[in-house]
């Protein structure tokens, strides 16, 4: 059954994804399950107040200070605990089908809601010692813990940012971290209407404006060290690279895609996996560690406190 948070083009896009020859079926199935669980969680959570409502004036003041306005500690987790737990069980069950079912099952049964909150908090504040401790206690490796924590956090953050999404897409933010939650971008699109490069947050799915010729990771503006790879002029996909920080970001040019199709960057991210392989082959990396996903926002907040 279709979840109401599920975008209407999602199933169609999934079919398109299945036609991509180089992505293993197992991987697509996993992706589909995780996404479906994500939409289900959003459907449940949307009935509750995830985040205390912020006035537009407050938000604009924070944005002017270059401080992201959503923080996990301000979320009203209390009424959401049961949904969070349910989502956690579902995520564990999906992971358990692929990896170490016994251990994952134990993990799913052992964590109580307060522990889950703690797991998310520790992950988002990037506390490696704490994560190591949880990892030792549960026997679950660090990367899986991070994956679970972020999968739990994403619906919460997406809902918290939902009302501000349209405003943020037009706000002159120009920073290399998300204006809503401080997350790092994972993919970009060139907007059909005006050619603006929009970066998409890896945590809350908010999109914001960013300069076309600038590295979204190290802010390098030296144009000779910013290049891109592509296969065909008519193709919408490009791999932008920075020779200074050796990072890459994939970009989808909507202007080269049929106007009737809505571009879902999460799907495009999967479809363009070969560009990730290409980036690695050429010696470039995307932000791959958790610290890189969450630290830009942490730094921005710290700077503001000082």
């Amino acid at each position: 059954m279709k979840n109401s948070s599920e975008p209407q083009w999602w199933r169609e896009d999934l079919k398109r994804l299945r036609s991509v020859e180089y992505i293993p079926e197992t991987y697509i199935n996993f992706f589909e399950s995780i996404f479906s669980a994500h939409y289900r969680a959003k459907d449940h959570l949307v009935k509750e107040t995830v985040y205390p409502s912020l006035g537009r004036k407050d938000v604009r003041e924070m944005l002017a200070e270059r401080v992201p306005f959503i923080h996990f500690d301000r979320m009203s987790i209390g009424p959401l605990r049961e949904h969070l737990r349910e989502h956690f069980r579902e995520i564990c069950s999906i992971i358990g089908k692929c990896e170490d079912p016994g251990r994952i099952e134990n993990f799913a049964g052992s964590e109580n809601c307060r522990d889950l909150e703690d797991l998310i908090r520790k992950t988002l504040s990037y506390d490696p010692d704490c994560l190591r401790e949880i990892s030792q206690k549960t026997g679950i490796d660090g990367s899986t813990l991070e994956f679970v924590a972020l999968a739990l956090a994403r619906p919460l953050f997406e809902l918290a940012a939902e009302d501000m999404k349209a405003m943020l897409a037009e706000y002159p933010w120009w920073q290399n971290y998300c204006p809503a939650c401080g997350g790092t971008p994972f993919i970009a699109r060139i907007r059909r209407e005006d050619g603006m490069r929009m970066l998409r947050c890896s945590l809350c799915a908010v999109e914001w404006k960013f300069a076309r010729v600038k590295c979204p990771f190290c802010n390098n503006e030296e144009q000779r060290s910013l290049r891109f790879f592509y296969y065909h002029e008519a193709s919408p996909y490009r791999l932008y690279i920075c020779d200074r920080c050796k990072r890459y970001i994939k970009c989808v040019d909507e202007r080269k895609i049929d106007q009737t199709r809505t571009v879902d960057l999460a799907i495009e991210d999967m479809i363009t996996l070969c560009f990730d392989a290409l980036g690695r082959q050429k010696g470039y990396l995307s932000p791959s560690s958790l610290s890189e996903v969450v630290t830009p926002g942490i730094k921005a907040r710290q700077k503001n406190k000082e």
Partner: protein, 209 residues
């Protein structure tokens, strides 16, 4: 392609929306259809449109030493990504090498020589003789004296020393000068000097915005 269970989740839960394919990427190969096209590299540079004085921001894309695209810079405060028809056409004024064969082609009148790809852009004088229906390629050595002769004869035939009230005017109204929005101040100054010296009164440099 088989993905083992153990290796399947060896990715960070981080950067990409939901998954970051760590070990999976080791298996991902560039599809043959794409590989067949050949990987190309491009570079984008921000610049200012070389036409009128508005100063619109542009992004010029170059690949393999060829300008493949010029578009408005959406982050530029003047034009916010928009360009006028002249600005959009700036791709055509990039300099490219043209083969002898292409240069010596005789072009039919009415063909859209201004919108051809760079490698076919107009690089030599094209001349259409009076009454002829074809453009023919002419060298500058032939063209410049011909232009000079036409100017001199027209000026001589149409020269007015005084106007209808007997006022001394020393002018010709049979020749007009049209400039282009791409001319800078110095060029406009020299052109104005030259044409006024010739006695022209209809001088237009098209620098309006």
């Amino acid at each position: 392609m088989e993905v083992t269970r153990r290796s399947f989740l060896k990715f960070s839960g981080g950067a990409t929306a939901f998954l970051l394919a760590g070990s999976l990427l080791d298996w991902v190969k560039i599809p043959s259809a794409l590989a067949g096209m050949g990987l190309k590299e491009g570079i984008e540079t921000t610049s200012i449109c070389c036409f009128c004085g508005c100063g619109c921001g542009v992004i010029v894309t170059v690949s393999q030493d060829v300008v493949i695209n010029v578009e408005g810079d959406p982050t530029h405060p003047v034009n916010e990504g928009a360009l006028c028809s002249k600005g959009v056409a700036t791709r055509q004024i990039s300099t490219q090498t043209v083969s002898e064969e292409e240069l010596n082609t005789t072009y039919a009148i009415g063909s859209r020589i201004d919108s051809w790809p760079e490698d076919k852009r107009l690089a030599r004088v094209l001349h259409r003789a009076a009454g002829d229906d074809k453009w023919t390629v002419m060298s500058w050595e032939e063209a410049l004296p011909l232009i000079g002769q036409k100017i001199a004869s027209t000026r001589q035939d149409s020269w007015e020393t005084t106007d209808q009230n007997g006022m001394i005017v020393n002018r010709t109204r049979a020749i007009a000068a049209m400039g282009g929005a791409a001319h800078d101040s110095e060029e406009c100054h020299l052109m104005r000097k030259f044409f006024t010296g010739l006695g022209l009164v209809y001088i237009e440099h098209q620098a309006r915005l």
